[in-house]
């Protein structure tokens, strides 16, 4: 595969350096920050800028040479002679040389400014990816994945191209317009003024236009992201759409979003057209003036035909860069808005990360403790967990029951530190989970999530996701324990079957078992099953349970379930209500207690008639 061949010539350390460097400069303006960052490639950057200066000076000399050539043909008419012919050849030779050289320098300029852009893009992408992976659950809860993708694609692009389209172009324009103006004005003041008359107008117009375009573009981007979201959710939730015959409804949603965007897109076209047409027009008006006034000057004998011709060619050369002024302004505007968003993302505080003095987790006895744990979701007004305390030893099983929203998953998410407790602490073998390294902690705690997410890859790769080095045998054993092996072997491609997006081609229970197998590959000290057998029949579940009981002796197992048969064998069962433990004890103890657990048990075991009678 291509990806594996790439990049042998560099070390992994480089990638980490890039990421660290991208984080430098917090608090700086985005333009300054990206400029400094681009200069991390000093060799390429200075080549690009140096070449730009030389290339533009060479380009400016071309009209001069052409004018000189024309004058040489004119002198020849009056003072005929061999010398004139020779002079022409010389001019032509220089012209050729200058053209070739200009081409070469432009190549250097373009290539190296693009190259800086590509390198910066590569490095920022790494920093972005790294950040995505490090930001904690609460950040990802808040921010729509589509918005993150926009930052990682569009905003990053705006930023990475700033060197080429902003900085290098600034140098180019400064030289071309500055030196060009000086050359024109010093040749003939009046004609120079006329020739340059379009410059301020065009510069102003194109800057205004680009800024307007930029502003509308930002709105457009927002509208387009709404449109994108409508399309994406429609396709992602296609079964819901079909189940409710919501196609027309969805099309209306699409039309609303689409019409909005189309209108703005139209506006943009109009702004753009109005300006390009006007800019071209002003350029030609200035050219007409130069032709007229200059022509009269030639007639009056004040200047030569060659000078006039060189003025006119100058103008054609200046036309492009002057128009580009607008692009340059746009590039600044774009880089600064993109940069603001991108760096805001990059600088977002990582709520959950290693403390500087964090040490790897050391598991000895395997004791999990919750000590008066409180937790409130960021932005929520009511606490989700209120004073949770319990302890579990290796070999023990903790069962958790409770109504939807009572805080069971939240509790489980505190153990591998997907969220940090608001008060109290969670410890493993006496070590606060906040004091150990995340990597070691998460490798010791496996959570089979309630909401199964599978990757669009083979069954084998999905099972091995947490341990890509696992031996085939290990993967098969995990699948066997999860009661999935037989099913997999019945598939035409067996373990190489690609599961559809998020696992659509599997039944609900098969998805859950795959996700169980994925966790069984690991050798954690704490294993949490968060309602992960809800879609699995009791019999299959029973067999999964007996299969994994073999490894259960050296780990804490936590089972969250609604079906009491799933957790009645637990050593301790916690009954959660509104984030509080309202009952605790073994199955028998809780039955004897005759409280809420008992009521739940009755509901699940006794026939309806008995229930009605009992009430």
């Amino acid at each position: 595969m291509i990806t594996l061949k790439a990049g042998r010539e560099r070390s992994r350390g480089d990638a980490r350096d890039h990421v660290a460097a991208a984080h430098a400069g917090i608090g700086m303006g985005p333009l300054k920050r990206i400029s400094l960052y681009s200069l991390r490639h000093p060799f390429q950057a200075s080549l690009a800028i140096g070449a730009t200066i030389v290339a533009s000076i060479l380009q400016l000399s071309i009209p001069r040479l052409l004018g000189q050539a024309i004058d040489q043909t004119q002198t020849v008419l009056s003072v005929a002679g061999e010398g004139a012919q020779e002079a022409l050849i010389w001019t032509a030779a220089i012209l050729l040389l200058v053209s070739v050289a200009r081409g070469g320098f432009t190549l250097v300029q373009n290539y190296f400014s693009e190259s800086v852009g590509h390198h910066v893009g590569y490095e920022l992408r790494l920093a972005f990816y790294d950040k995505v992976q490090r930001l904690s659950y609460s950040y990802h809860d808040r921010v729509h994945s589509g918005d993150l993708i926009t930052i990682g694609l569009l905003d990053l692009d705006g930023l990475r191209m700033f060197f080429a389209t902003g900085l290098v172009r600034t140098v180019l324009l400064a030289v071309l317009i500055g030196v060009g103006a000086w050359m024109l004005l010093s040749t003939d003041l009046l004609l120079g003024f006329l020739a340059l008359s379009f410059v301020p107008f065009v510069a102003w117009r194109s800057s205004v236009a680009q800024l307007t375009l930029r502003a509308t573009w930002l709105i457009l981007q927002e509208k387009l992201s709404v449109l994108t979201r409508v399309m994406e959710e429609n396709l992602g939730g296609i079964r819901v759409v079909r189940a409710f015959s919501g196609q027309k409804f969805e099309l209306r949603k699409f039309d609303v979003a689409s019409t909005d965007a189309l209108e703005l897109a139209h506006q943009r076209v109009m702004v753009r057209v109005k300006n390009t047409s006007m800019m071209t027009f002003s350029f030609f008006v200035a050219m007409g003036l130069v032709l007229w006034v200059g022509g009269n000057k030639v007639i009056a004998g004040e200047i030569s035909v060659g000078t006039l011709a060189s003025f006119l060619t100058f103008m054609t050369i200046l036309q492009m860069p002057v128009r580009q002024l607008g692009l340059m302004v746009n590039s600044y505007a774009r880089a600064s808005t993109c940069g603001e968003r991108f760096y805001a993302f990059l600088d977002a505080p990582v709520e959950i990360e290693d403390k500087p003095e964090a040490v790897p987790l050391e598991i000895s006895k395997g004791v999990l403790r919750f000590e008066d744990v409180h937790f409130t979701y960021p932005g929520a007004s009511v606490p989700t967990l209120n004073g949770i305390s319990f302890e579990a030893h290796a070999g023990q099983t903790i069962g958790i029951v409770g109504a939807p929203g009572s805080g069971k998953s939240t509790l489980a998410h505190l153990i591998p530190r997907f969220y940090d407790v608001t008060a109290g602490r969670v410890t493993l073998d006496g070590q606060d989970v906040r004091d150990v390294t995340l990597a070691s902690l998460r490798r010791s705690v496996a959570v089979v999530q309630q909401d199964t997410f599978l990757f669009t890859t083979t069954i084998e790769n999905n099972i091995a996701y947490g341990d890509p080095w696992a031996k085939d045998r290990k993967i098969e054993r995990a699948a066997e324990s999860a009661q999935l092996h037989n099913y997999i072997m019945g598939l035409p491609a067996a373990y190489d079957t690609v599961v559809g997006e998020r696992g659509v081609s599997l039944s609900g229970g098969q998805r859950q078992r795959l996700s169980i197998a994925r966790s069984l590959v690991l050798k954690p000290a704490v294993m949490v099953f968060d309602d992960s057998t809800a879609a699995i029949d009791a019999g299959t579940e029973h067999r999964i349970r007996s299969a994994i009981r073999r490894f259960a002796s050296d780990r804490v197992t936590m089972i969250i379930a609604h079906r009491l048969s799933s957790l009645m064998h637990a050593d301790t069962i916690l009954f959660l209500e509104d984030g509080r433990i309202v009952e605790r004890g073994s199955h028998e103890e809780l039955l004897a207690l005759g409280g809420k657990y008992r009521a739940l048990y009755d509901l699940q075991t006794r026939p309806t008639d008995d229930l009605e009678a009992a009430q």
């Binding site: 990806t3 660290a20 052409l66 040489q72 043909t73 004119q74 012919q85 032509a92 012209l95 200058v98 053209s99 081409g103 070469g104 190549l107 373009n110 590569y122 992408r125 990816y129 790294d130 992976q133 994945s145 993708i149 990682g152 399309m231 396709l235 992602g236 939730g237 296609i238 079964r239 079909r242 189940a243 027309k248 109005k274 047409s277 071209t280 030609f284 032709l291 007229w292 007639i299 035909v305 060619t313 054609t316 109504a403 939807p404 998953s409 309630q450 997410f453 084998e460 790769n461 997006e501 659509v504 039944s507 609900g508 994925r518 690991l522 009791a538 019999g539 029973h542 067999r543 075991t605």
Partner: protein, 632 residues
Amino acid sequence: MSVVQEDERDVAAFPGQRPPRASVGSHRVEEEVFGKAYDPKTVRRIWAYVKPYRLKIYLSVAAVLVFTATQLAIPLIIGNAIDTGLVAGGDPAALTWAVGAFAIAVLFNFAASWVQETQVGQVAEHVLFDMRRAMFAQLQAVSLSYMDKTEVGRLMSRLQGDVNSMQEFLETSVISVGDLVLLFGIVAVLLSLDPWLGLLTLITMPVLFIIRIFWLPPAKRAFWAAHETNSLTAGAMAEGINGVRTVQNLDRQKVNFDLYDDKAYHNLRTQLTGSKYAQVMVPIVDSLTGISMATVVVVGGAMVLNGNLQVGVIVAFLFYIQRFFDPIRSLTMQYSIMQRAMTSGRRIIEVMDLPTVIEDKPGAISLTGAMDGSVEFRDVVFGYDPKRPVLKNVSFKVNPGETVAVIGPTGSGKTSAMALVHRFYEVQSGAVVVGGHDVRDITQESLGEQVAMVLQEPFLFTGTIFENIRYNKASATRDDVIAAAKAVGAHDFIARFANGYDTMLEQRGSNLSLGQRQLLSFARALVADAKILVLDEATANIDSYTERQIQKALEILLAGRTGMVIAHRLATIRGADRIIVLQNGEKIEEGNHDQLMELGGLYSKLYNMNYSSFDDIPDEMVAQANAKAAST
């Protein structure tokens, strides 16, 4: 700050080695980007979207021609001004005439460029939106068996990337008509001004053509590779974002970072190669321009010197030379754009041509709330892969107003059977009959209105809780929504939010617990007010307590409606009138609670064992049950 964690597993056991079975992003390789540049079939189909705007297109082509004509004229006018007005003492009147002509040309130029750009720009935007809408509409009808196999990201790239490259093509193609005319115009003008000098100057043109012919194939490959690696990198990034919770959960960050680094670095290399190919043409074009200019200066100069040529012609020549590589450059660019557009066009058409498979028959019946609400499976055979049936000759009938439970081990085909009631898929043989009509004779829309489903996996849209519960039932009032929420026991937790029913849900409802999401999707099905209610594990993530309350509320709400309930928790189906037991896609038992208990088969055994498994039942018992079912 340590940015990336060291991973002991990696370093210890496999120093520096890539993990054998890990990847980020999908390993799909996009179809070739550069195909034929002209494919009449594709063009004809795409033309259908342009046709409504053809008058605008004709207008802008006309404007482009005028625009090109003025571009051709301007150097001529300047040259003429020099020759008639300036040399040999000068002629102010001729100069004034020339400047007048120049002014007229400029006015035309202005008007033409205005017309052309507004028309083309707007048409291109319109076509873009039209095509996107047509595709989106088509995707609403495409059969689920296709959608199951296709990644959302891939469809999104059709809806965005491909339509954009069509737009780019439309915008540039009108301009390239102008370029083509300009190219021939320049050649014609140069040759007519002075055939010899013209020929000499134009020699560089075929040279450029030849160079480009050699340059194009490798350059195309390089651009294609750059495009390809770029979208692969973007895909890997999107996957990293969407799966971030799982990545952190399984501590895959470090491995993924390294894999992503490989992809991004490979992308960097191909981008640089692409840049090289793009930029290498610059000095070539510049040198050729230099050669042409030098030729004009030397040869043309000598001719002026001999009095065979006027100096204004040289000026005009020099002006043209500066321009005449532009059309060649943009035309060859246009060629690639066109190739890309053809490929995009083919992909767009591919989407538009996707088999809907499931279509309303002409004269299909529209189901109304007046139908009886019965559901019948007649010898249904169905498989996602026709060779491997998931349902094998399943027959049963649900009478009007009945509630029937479908139970069976995981993967036995329960969800698939329910999908058939809604005609998500077409049966291979047999028939599914709803309200007395084969589902194939019913319009899909009316079927959807009469069958409400709670899907096994709750899906919520970004938006408020209210919008989610109401979904497409525009006639539902706020009270209806609240009543449904109360019935499923969701009202309490909704009311606890500061904004109540107007609380915004995050993506897929991630700020709710899974059970809460399930309750909302349950409420959504109630609001739909359908005759038949299908509950696929609708209470799997809900405690029995809440479930019992829901059941009680439903008894009143669903009086006279038909219900089909799938559940693994046997307590859930207690209220069912009849129970159907599926195993391996076969119906092995059917009857009401008492009948099944009396039968002494699977169900009774299960019921008595209460927590035992379907699979614990010996095979002979299954066979026995089957035999019994066959004989009755």
